[in-house]
């Protein structure tokens, strides 16, 4: 039937009114998720410019002050402004989550597609290796990696990004491989093989364009969990070092004061869960739109 006409043509179309008209047909999760994500991104980029205080300025108010016009979200035990710290933290959080996930999805996606297409012993080797990595509990695995690199490096943001990427890589790799082993049975892949194309060319031209939908969704889901993982590491003291305004670290530092001054924990916790929820809503909506497209094909 011809009742499935929207998506790709619509991408090519321009014009604001048409764009607005189309938003009505998008899943609400995608719309809300993108709006929230945009806010987070704006805060991350412009935040340092307009935040009321530097993140490490002590004594901006009395310690453990409740929210008041001067300190919008109150202060912590050293009198640092929590609002400013949360705003400054956004860029750390987003940068680490997005880069680590991107590395994992690109590398994992490539390895997975190649492994699924070539098959045989290479497939067995890569997949068993991935499975071994997946079988280790996430936090234990992250701790092992940090230990192996050396505790003295544990505050490094690049190391954290590497750890998260390494945790996610085998998982996205398996996902990409499962897509590839379905795609390689398609006739167009057979035609490409009968044309004498190289494995690289088939993965690049024939498989990747059809796997991008799945990989994008995978990226979104993983990026939504990355702040939690980074936060957990921060909480355990293996993340970034104080006084960096990383949200997980802030929760950890202030947990002893949870009853006395709940704002100190609530502010970073709400910011973190808001980010996770908006990333999840965005991917949920994206998956639906892409699913619609895939069904059409």
């Amino acid at each position: 039937m011809t009742d499935l006409v929207i998506a790709r043509k619509s991408v090519a179309l321009t014009g604001l009114s048409r764009g607005l008209g189309r938003i009505r047909h998008l899943p609400w999760t995608l719309v809300l998720g993108s709006v929230l994500l945009t806010i987070y991104l704006l805060v991350a980029i412009t935040g340092p410019l307009w935040a009321p205080y530097p993140y490490d300025r002590v004594g901006t108010g009395k310690p453990f002050a409740a929210p008041n016009p001067k300190n919008l979200l109150g202060t912590d035990q050293m009198g640092r402004d929590l609002f400013s710290r949360v705003v400054h933290g956004a860029s750390h959080e987003l940068f680490m989550a997005l880069t680590s996930t991107a590395i994992a999805v690109i590398l994992g996606g490539f390895l997975g597609l190649l492994s699924g297409f070539i098959g045989g012993w290479l497939d067995v080797l890569i997949m068993r290796l991935f499975e071994i990595l997946i079988s280790i509990p996430v936090l234990v695995f992250a701790l092992l990696v940090i230990m192996a690199v050396g505790l003295e490096a544990s505050g490094n943001e690049l190391l954290l990004i590497g750890v998260v990427a390494l945790v996610y890589l085998p998982r996205t790799g398996r996902m990409a491989r499962s897509v590839a082993i379905d795609l390689v049975t398609r006739d167009y892949v057979m035609v490409a093989r009968a044309r004498g194309e190289s494995a690289w060319s088939i993965v690049w031209r024939e498989l990747l364009p059809n796997a991008t939908g799945v990989l994008l969704v995978e990226f979104g889901v993983r990026a939504g969990y990355a702040p939690i993982l980074i936060g957990s590491l921060g909480f355990l003291g293996l993340g970034v070092r104080p006084p960096t305004p990383e949200w997980g670290l802030m929760i950890s530092e202030n947990r002893a004061n949870l009853v006395a001054a709940p704002y100190t924990v609530l502010a970073p916790a709400l910011a973190l869960s808001g980010l996770v929820i908006s990333l999840n809503m965005f991917t949920d909506g994206l998956a639906r739109v892409l699913g619609r497209q895939v069904k059409r094909v």
Binding site: T2, D3, K9, R186, D187, M190, R193, A194, R205, N210
Partner: protein, 689 residues
């Protein structure tokens, strides 16, 4: 009309589907009735609204659809206004459905017998479960399933497609309905299985006096089993008539074109100028007759004035105001008979020139391991097949599904792990080497086209990339030269240049198949392997692609290995035919030789199962056929298990000899030629009317 009036009547039905931003009519102002004990056939091409009509008869509203106007009157009630609860008492009880795909219609985890019992109990047709079981067993006998107690306890996956469809029919019959709606019930089945199901339906109709609505795109099937036929186009009924009338004197130009498009096994000629031109574009239909943009006889008035069915003869109605002015079908055919398309008859003369020589080909996907550490035995799908193809000729392989046709094509392409035998291509290439080890020239000269263009075109590539890629790989073209060549190829397959930047899902099925053909042509091959290239297409599109393939062959001298299960298509396209059964060839010859007696028993069986779009022909009942049998032990003659004329003395044990009838015609059978000559399928088909 009948004294008691029709059994069910559709009045002025308009159905619309939600298409993203607005309601689009799929059926407009449809009037239709079915009389008691009548089989009404509803035919038309895909997307014409046949299945939507069938749904409406069940009072079923699919997701995203709405009934804007109209009534479906059954026993004094309007089914479209009934509550779901009220409909439950009618569906399955008084009106039942046989869907297209039996595999998905049966629940996989329940014994098939219990599924019939469930129907009986839900409708309280049987008072007790014991009674229902007895009736279920009885029904299984009546739909011709052997050994009902065993079938009763089977799960759906343990039955063949034909058996599954019989179970569905038993379920539909369970509560003695007054009407059965059959929605393409034989479309996924082999011809031989289809023939059995049609036999069964005709028997049931004769013995129960059921009314049936038979929805299909296959004109041959309706010609065999329907009493009255309705032709649909773009959601409207354009012609309704008794079957003799519709096939002999169709009045609507669309009906004429549709009937002329159907390939015949008896008359291999196609009437070219009668073929339907263009495509149904639902997005821009004129306010008047929907067929007007494609019609040869259209006038201004056609485009603006709605056409309604008007009685023109005894129970013959047509929706065309010019029906009296349009030349009759017989006249149009007679005028254009000379313009049939020509198969190049030069083939066969150039003796000695051989493009592809296949000698004793054996192929297998998997291996059996009889004992640990013993040498693994290949499980042969193709078992000793030999044939030759000359340059520029079309060699067709026919057989049922599972006979190994596609495996041969894959073996030639080097995709099969186990291949033995001598495969020589173009004198210098050995085709037993796998695809990764072949030279670029060999890859270029051997191209393949698949059945389903949805799967063979990458949905994320533009048409220009799809057709352009082989040009880059084989000829190193790029830039403007590449673009020119792609556009020339688009023209060769009669597609507009504007398709250059499109994606496959913006094209219709027939257009996509043209793109697939263009991609193969781009490599300038000497041999094209066409694996069921026409099976997924509508008849009018099929006819156009057949014509295209014939033209390309004449121009470029390409040889085709044409794999098909459709004997009518094969007869109209192929120069020579090989008949394949269970991995072995049983008859090879020129098309004329294979299609005239003497026949190999399997060829006879295949030909007897084809429903021809001609109500004067019948499908001989000579076969008590059981369908493709694959047992553990393959008898010496693979066909012995099914052969109607087999001699138990030696058919099971001695391999049959090749009997040579002419330089080109050989068949492999124990039965003497003189005896085979007595079974003339054409006499049998026309004989008992």
């Amino acid at each position: 009309m009948q004294p008691n009036g029709p059994l069910i009547e559709i009045r002025n039905l308009t159905v619309e589907y939600w298409q993203g931003d607005r309601w689009n009519p799929v059926i407009e102002g449809l009037h239709l009735h079915i009389n008691p004990a009548e089989t009404l056939g509803l035919v038309g091409e895909s997307g014409c609204g046949k299945s939507t009509t069938a749904n409406a008869l069940m009072g079923y509203r699919p997701r995203g659809a709405r009934y804007r106007s109209g009534q479906v009157l059954f026993a004094g009630q309007d089914l479209l206004r009934l509550s779901n609860r009220a409909l439950q008492h009618i569906r399955g009880r008084q009106i039942s459905l046989v869907p297209q795909n039996p595999t998905t219609a049966l629940s996989p985890g329940i014994h098939v017998g219990d599924q019939i019992v469930e129907t009986l109990m839900v409708h309280r047709y049987s008072a007790t479960v014991r009674e229902a079981r007895e009736r279920a067993l009885d029904l299984l006998v009546r739909v011709g399933l052997p050994n009902p107690p065993i079938i009763y306890k089977r799960y759906p996956h343990q039955l063949s497609g034909g058996q599954q469809q019989r179970v569905i029919i038993a379920m539909a019959l369970a509560c003695d309905p007054q009407l059965i709606v059959l929605d393409e019930p034989t479309t996924g089945l082999d011809v031989t299985t289809q023939a059995q199901i049609l036999d069964l339906l005709m028997d049931l109709q004769a013995s129960y006096g059921l009314a049936m609505l038979y929805v299909t795109h296959n004109l041959g099937v309706v010609a065999q089993i329907c009493t009255r036929i309705g032709v649909m186009y773009a959601g409207q009924l354009v012609e309704v008539a008794p079957r003799q009338t519709i096939f002999k004197q169709p009045l609507h130009p669309y009906t004429q074109g549709l009937i002329a498009s159907v390939p015949r096994i008896t008359a291999p000629k196609q009437v070219r100028s009668l073929l339907l031109k263009g495509l149904l574009k639902r997005s821009d239909l004129p306010p008047g007759c929907p067929f007007a943009p494609r019609c040869d006889f259209a006038r201004e008035r056609c485009l603006v004035e709605k056409q309604h069915l008007t009685e023109v003869g005894e129970s013959h109605a047509v929706a065309c105001w010019r029906w009296q002015e349009i030349p009759s079908f017989a006249q149009r055919i007679a005028e254009t008979q000379s313009a049939v398309f020509q198969k190049c008859e030069t083939v066969g003369c150039k003796a000695g020139e051989i493009l592809l020589k296949v000698d004793n080909l054996c192929a297998a996907y998997t291996f059996d391991h009889p004992r640990p550490f013993a040498r693994p035995l290949p499980r042969l799908i193709v078992d000793g097949v030999s044939f030759e193809i000359q340059p520029g000729e079309t060699f067709a392989l026919v057989g049922e599904s599972g006979s190994g046709k596609s495996t041969i094509a894959r073996a030639l392409n080097g995709f099969i792990p186990y291949v033995t035998g001598e495969l020589r291509f173009d004198g210098k290439y050995d085709l037993t080497i796998p695809v990764d080890k072949r030279t670029r020239d060999l890859l270029r000269e051997l191209q393949l086209v698949f059945q389903n263009p949805d799967a063979s075109l990458n949905p994320r590539q533009r048409i220009s990339q799809i057709i352009g890629r082989p040009l880059q790989v084989f000829f190193g073209l790029s830039g403007a030269a590449l673009r020119r060549r792609v556009e020339a190829l688009l023209e060769d397959v009669r597609l507009d240049r504007s398709y250059y930047d499109r994606y496959p899902d913006e094209l219709s099925g027939g257009e996509r198949q043209r793109v697939a053909i263009a991609r193969a042509l781009a490599a300038e091959p000497k041999l094209m392997l066409c694996d069921e290239v026409l099976s997924a297409l509508d008849v009018s599109v099929q006819a156009n692609i057949i014509e295209l393939l014939a033209d390309l062959q004449a121009k470029r001298n390409i040889a085709y290995l044409f794999i098909s299960h459709d004997l009518a298509v094969v007869r109209s396209l192929a120069h020579r035919v090989g008949v394949l059964y269970w991995g072995c060839l049983c008859e090879v010859g020129t098309t004329e030789e294979v299609f005239t007696p003497p026949f190999h028993p399997y060829t006879y069986l295949l030909l007897s199962a084809v429903p021809e779009a001609d109500p004067d022909q019948v499908m001989p009942e000579a076969r008590k056929d059981i369908g493709l049998v694959v047992s553990e032990e393959k008898p010496a003659c693979p066909f012995a298990l099914r052969c109607p004329w087999k001699d138990p003395m030696h058919c099971n044990d001695e391999p049959p000899p090749w009997q040579t009838l002419s330089r080109t015609h050989m068949l492999r059978c124990h039965i003497p030629i003189e005896e085979l000559r007595q079974h003339d399928i054409w006499a049998d088909r026309f004989g008992r009317v």
